[in-house]
Symmetry: C2
Subunit: 206 residues, 2 copies
Amino acid sequence: MPARKTRSAPPLELRDACIVAAQQVIAERGIEHLSLREVARKLGVSHQAPYKHYPSRDHLLAEVMRRCFQGFAAHLDARPRHEDPELDLESLGLQYLAYARDHPLEYRLMFSTTWPESAAHPEIARDATHAYDVLRGVLQRMHGDAPEMRDTIELDALYIWSTVHGLAGVMNGQCLDRLELRAKVVRQAVRHAMDRMSAGLAGDPR
Amino acid sequence: MPARKTRSAPPLELRDACIVAAQQVIAERGIEHLSLREVARKLGVSHQAPYKHYPSRDHLLAEVMRRCFQGFAAHLDARPRHEDPELDLESLGLQYLAYARDHPLEYRLMFSTTWPESAAHPEIARDATHAYDVLRGVLQRMHGDAPEMRDTIELDALYIWSTVHGLAGVMNGQCLDRLELRAKVVRQAVRHAMDRMSAGLAGDPR
């Protein structure tokens, strides 16, 4: 039995090892250098080996991206929860920002990468939608599920996503440092923006 | 006189041609492929020629980025102006979004690029600050210039920048299409976010 286990393990490991190697290639050399050949070279396996699991470079990239969205959704789901949807939305925003700060490569892959052809890889969109549904869920609790609130929920989801996405970009980008803002202002920036965001959500849209 | 003009023109032209060629290299092959050698190859000049104007690859990149910020600030300055600072802020936001949509390469260079070492290239930060000052100016007109409003102006500048930067990223990114939102929602997204942003700015921060 142990012998059989050992025999069946390597293919599974290679499948996962390709993902790790692909992320390394992207981190070190940029996404345009991602290829199954480069991944095989990095793993020290034959050029043909990765093809057993990924028919093409795009299949590998699709699986890398899918796992990013899956991990991202799990991270959002693991936020400190609150009964009050306004507090829960704030918790979700902070959890989002923590992910962007701590996983810059994964974050860039999800939101700044050219996606593989979508019809061929519907699984990425499925996992991306699941992550987005976390936000929709909180807004639905906030606005209620009356049919006339459907558009507002969708529009607010885009508004909240934009704000925290932009905040992540500004706070983690290089431009901020060069503007030489006062340290106190930079320290308060996220808190202030989250408060403005909540106030915006409470206001009546024109 | 015309002969003299002709003799003095080429160096100036090469200086500018290097900028255009550098942007092409970045657009076609990615920023990690930018080198003075690659720029010379693209222009069909000797490998040494670009060094007359740019002592290093970082000097060339710094000049490319500086010109992006300069053009960006000029674009923001050219917005339809309004006496009412709230309307002017909205005009500024829409002008910002139009730039991000129409100049994706320049936008990426300014906000998603690893900057050359800043102490050696203070001119980029100077032009970036000028662009940021356009936003500060509108907020100063909105909040007044009493000393106790100084921090609020700075914090709101970061809030507004984050929101429009995020909106640009979401609306121009590839993720949006894959979420299969209703067309009506996508059409209204910018308008809705700008209204929420204004409402947030009018609210009392906690």
